[in-house]
């Protein structure tokens, strides 16, 4: 026994010796023309956009939208489209003639038609597109459904899924089926929307057809059957292991001559600490993890090549209320809470780089407020500067009383409630902790409760909370106040908080229901004068009736290293604003145009 043990021990020691004699440098993986990033992707990899997890962080490198939209400048950068024209409900897109799939096939209008049929069949979206037609190999014409908002033109142009998701020559055998499902789905949708009843038979037939298609397409893996994944974007996934993913340059891409970056290499984003460590040791060229202030300073000290640019993430974090709870139905209490919370302190401990919420809670992101809400409107509104005194005044006027540092409602019940927060979102937990502390100090009895991993939806939708930390206004998809207001008054927030958004609220311009105002705004979105007028009313209602109390505007801190790369844009450059909702778009734009390249 002992002899074997000794043998194993000796073997182990000698192995250790062998390793220590090797040069432990990181030179092995260093290639000068790589762009190294951190992301997530499904593994086992399939290369099917409809498969689980799709293609992960490779999305914007492998799929091209018709154009990129730069929110800061309002400018469109043509990608797959050379140009486009809008005529009423028709959008005509002229495709780039020199765009090719990475296997050398030409990219044509047929691919776009195919893609739209597939996504309508597989995702039941976007039914806003009533028809899509190939006029010639390089021209496609989209016709919007009569009730579709005109802002949907923007979605067609900028959504990565719209043009190049499904190469016709790879998926053609399901095209007929997909088309059939899509048409039937659209018919059911339009009929339902216009109040007609759809027969159960039609519904059953739809279920049958769509599940037959889904079963086949979901299981398809181009990466396994074709051994490759033909893409129209600048990079094709070529080698994927669980911890790393390599994308190689598509030599047929129309910008391939300008682009000098041969590969994009992803590291798995397994934890924030891992990304920090990778950034410090120069293993990544760019990443956007949340990092505490002192860590950032220290990183810059250890790795002086690191720079940081923060851009608005186009969403705000807010305190939301359950309006089924008697306590929060009282506007006075919500106003008092708005006065008590010290937004700057919350921001400091939660995400130090964030933009603190401004003094007006208009529902327009604070970084965009000056562009959309005019000063005349602001002068009519309550200004929420942190002040315990103001909060006390409001409460006392409303009949609340304070005994032994504890507030009581007019009906003499203690003001006590539980603040729920989603546990896995660290920054939210930190914000909640600070809010609870501030409210307790003021004399409310507040406890904090964490929502377990995977349970956020369950808790929020079932209304099993009293108040919570959530995304407030958010401009995901279409960066416009309309998107934020729709979220507050029609969609998620209205649903989970039960805020009475269909009731009429008093404003200096008369009585309005925010729900109707959002509808009106959607119709008039391209009429900038009318839209601005409606936004003033919505801003007023949001500020005075407080469906949510915003805490801070989320930002995306982009850490980028100039150690191996040159050409990062200056801090003022509008292209940074392309990052929210798809940071890889920014990197893709920079490297394909040859702006960002190896030193």
């Amino acid at each position: 026994m002992k002899k074997t043990l000794i043998k194993i021990f000796v073997l182990f020691m000698s192995l250790t010796l062998i390793f220590s004699s090797f040069n432990f440098s990181f030179a092995a993986t260093k290639k000068t023309s790589d762009l190294k990033l951190a992301s997530d992707w499904p593994y086992p990899f399939h290369g099917n956009p409809f498969g689980p997890g799709a293609v992960g962080g490779a999305w914007w490198f492998v799929y091209e939208p018709f154009a990129y939209y730069i929110p800061q400048t309002g400018q469109y950068i043509p990608r797959l489209a050379e140009k486009w024209t809008i005529n009423g409900s028709k959008l005509t897109v002229y495709l780039r003639k020199n765009a090719k799939w990475s296997d050398g096939r030409a990219f044509t209008a047929q691919d776009v038609v195919n893609t739209v049929a597939f996504i309508q069949a597989m995702w039941q979206w976007p039914y806003e597109i009533q028809t899509v037609r190939a006029i010639n190999p390089n021209t496609v014409e989209f016709t919007l459904w009569k009730d579709a908002p005109t802002s949907f033109m923007h979605t067609i142009l900028t959504d990565g899924a719209m043009g190049s998701l499904v190469p016709y020559h790879v998926y053609s055998k399901w095209y007929g089926q997909a088309r059939q499902v899509a048409e039937l789905g659209k018919k059911i949708f339009y009929d339902t929307q216009s109040g007609k009843t759809v027969s159960d038979e039609t519904k059953k037939q739809y279920e049958k057809l769509s599940s037959a298609l889904r079963d086949q397409v979901n299981k398809f893996s181009p990466y396994k059957t074709l051994k490759r994944m033909p893409v129209v974007g600048a990079y094709e996934p070529t080698k994927i292991i669980q911890s790393e993913m390599v994308l190689s340059k598509n030599k047929y891409h129309w910008l391939a001559n300008k682009n000098t970056t041969e590969r994009v290499v992803f590291r798995r984003w397994s934890s924030n600490e891992f990304v920090w460590a990778s950034l410090v040791s120069g293993e990544l060229d760019a990443a956007h993890p949340n990092m505490p202030k002192d860590v950032v300073e220290q990183l810059k000290f250890i790795n002086p090549n690191l720079n940081v640019k923060t851009v608005s993430d186009l969403s705000e974090i807010a305190l939301i209320f359950n309006f089924n709870n008697k306590l929060f139905k009282d506007l006075n209490l919500r106003k008092a809470i708005a006065y008590v919370i010290d937004k700057n302190k919350v921001k400091d401990v939660s995400v130090w780089q964030a933009n603190p919420a401004g003094q007006y809670y208009t529902g327009v992101l604070s970084s965009m407020q000056s562009k959309w809400v005019n000063s005349a409107t602001l002068s009519k509104m309550t200004k929420y500067t942190t002040s315990a005194a103001s909060a006390e005044n409001i409460l006392k006027k409303a009949g609340y009383t304070k005994k032994d540092n504890q507030w009581y409602t007019p009906s003499n019940e203690p003001v006590e409630f539980v603040l729920s927060v989603y546990g896995p979102h660290n920054d939210w937990v930190l914000a909640a902790r600070e809010v609870v502390q501030q409210l307790n100090k003021f004399g409310f009895k507040v406890e904090m409760k964490l929502i377990p991993d995977g349970m956020r939806d369950q808790v929020m939708r079932s209304g099993e909370y009293e108040c919570a930390i959530e995304f407030g206004s958010a401009w995901w998809g279409y960066p416009h106040p309309m998107t934020g207001y729709a979220r507050l008054y029609q969609w998620d927030i209205a649903n989970i908080t039960a805020f009475p958004s269909k009731e009429k609220f008093n404003t200096p311009w008369g009585e309005y229901s925010p729900f109707d105002l959002v509808e009106e705004l959607r119709v008039n979105i391209n009429n900038s004068k009318k839209a601005t007028e409606i936004i003033q009313k919505l801003a007023y209602i949001t500020n005075e009736y407080l469906p949510v109390v915003p805490l801070f505007e989320k930002v995306l801190p982009i850490y980028y290293s100039s150690a191996r790369l040159t050409g990062w844009p200056s801090a003022q450059d509008g292209r940074w604003s392309l990052a929210p909702g798809g940071i890889e778009r920014l990197y893709n734009l920079l490297i394909t145009e040859g702006v960002l390249k190896a030193k």
Partner: protein
């Protein structure tokens, strides 16, 4: 053989013979007193002050301040309550279940013995931490009290102890004095409590200290999952903030932040371990013989 049957109270007097047990006892006593009286002596203010973060240890802040600018010492003292409370109850239950089932398994034979053995084996083979996470998700909304939470934690902690205790009992039960008791027709409880229990007691104590560590890890997990009431002064939560949220390892001037938290965790568990070791040496004459 009667020498072996020293009961626990008499054992305390042996402190003067065993320094280890004495030191361990003092450490544990210190933290228990901290848990009971600490919050009356050291008041806690959780008011954050970002500009005063990471202040080095000083007279005002004996352990310095954390990322939020809050005094670390005050948090440690006030957090002792949940740490000691929740973890100790959990490990107490785990030891209780483990001991009872372990002795039963070791002593009983036949069908019932096998049944107990199967129960132990089932809990042994199921990976405990993931199972606990699932339990946490199931009970997340049921507002459990501390005892119930401790029981859930204990449910996934007791099995290894039971297995070890049963092995001990099996080796003891063939000893002469047990055979003697059996021949004298002593009742079962007498054999179990007077003959067997004193022999396995030190072993159980050692495990109590080890369970404490497991219980602490588990309760931290439960707090993050929302089952246990979130207490930001629980040492485990503090440590998690220090390493993950505040990234204190990357910040040289924040060295004291994780250091003092880890120091206290280690000291408490170390106190438990050497107390148990000391007792084992005191009670087990085989060990004393080799001192």
């Amino acid at each position: 053989m009667s020498e072996l049957r020293i009961n626990l109270t008499k054992g305390i007097s042996l402190f003067k013979y065993n320094k280890k047990a004495f030191i361990g006892f003092i450490i544990i006593l210190f933290y228990v007193l901290m848990a009971i009286f600490g919050r009356y002596i050291v008041p806690l203010s959780l008011e954050s002050n970002f500009s005063e973060r990471y202040l080095a240890p000083s007279l005002k802040h004996p352990f310095g301040t954390d990322y939020f600018g809050i005094d670390i010492f005050a948090q440690i003292v006030n957090g002792a309550r949940t740490v000691i409370g929740l973890s100790m109850t959990s490990s107490f239950f785990a030891v209780l279940i483990g001991t009872i089932l372990g002795i039963l398994r070791g002593y009983l034979t036949g069908k019932i013995g096998q049944l107990v053995d199967a129960i132990i084996s089932i809990f042994l083979v199921i990976p405990s931490f993931p199972a606990l996470l699932i339990m946490a998700a199931i009970f997340a909304d049921s507002n459990l009290n501390m005892v119930q939470i401790s029981l859930i934690v204990a449910l996934w902690l007791w099995a290894p102890l039971a297995k070890q205790v049963s092995a001990q009992v099996m080796s003891i039960k063939s000893k002469e004095f047990i055979e003697a008791s059996k021949m004298l027709n002593m009742p079962l409880y007498y054999i179990v409590f007077k003959d067997i229990f004193p022999l396995v007691a030190p072993y159980i104590l050692v495990n109590f200290a080890m369970q404490l560590k497991g219980a602490m890890e588990f309760t931290i997990g439960l707090m993050f999952l929302g089952l246990a009431k979130f207490d930001s002064t629980h040492w485990g939560i503090m440590l998690n903030y220090a390493l993950y949220q505040a990234g204190a390892l990357y910040t040289p001037r924040a060295f004291h932040y994780p250091f003092f938290i880890i120091l206290n965790i280690i000291l408490l568990i170390y106190g438990g371990i050497i107390f148990a070791q000391g007792l084992e040496e005191t009670f087990n004459p085989k060990l004393r013989g080799h001192e």
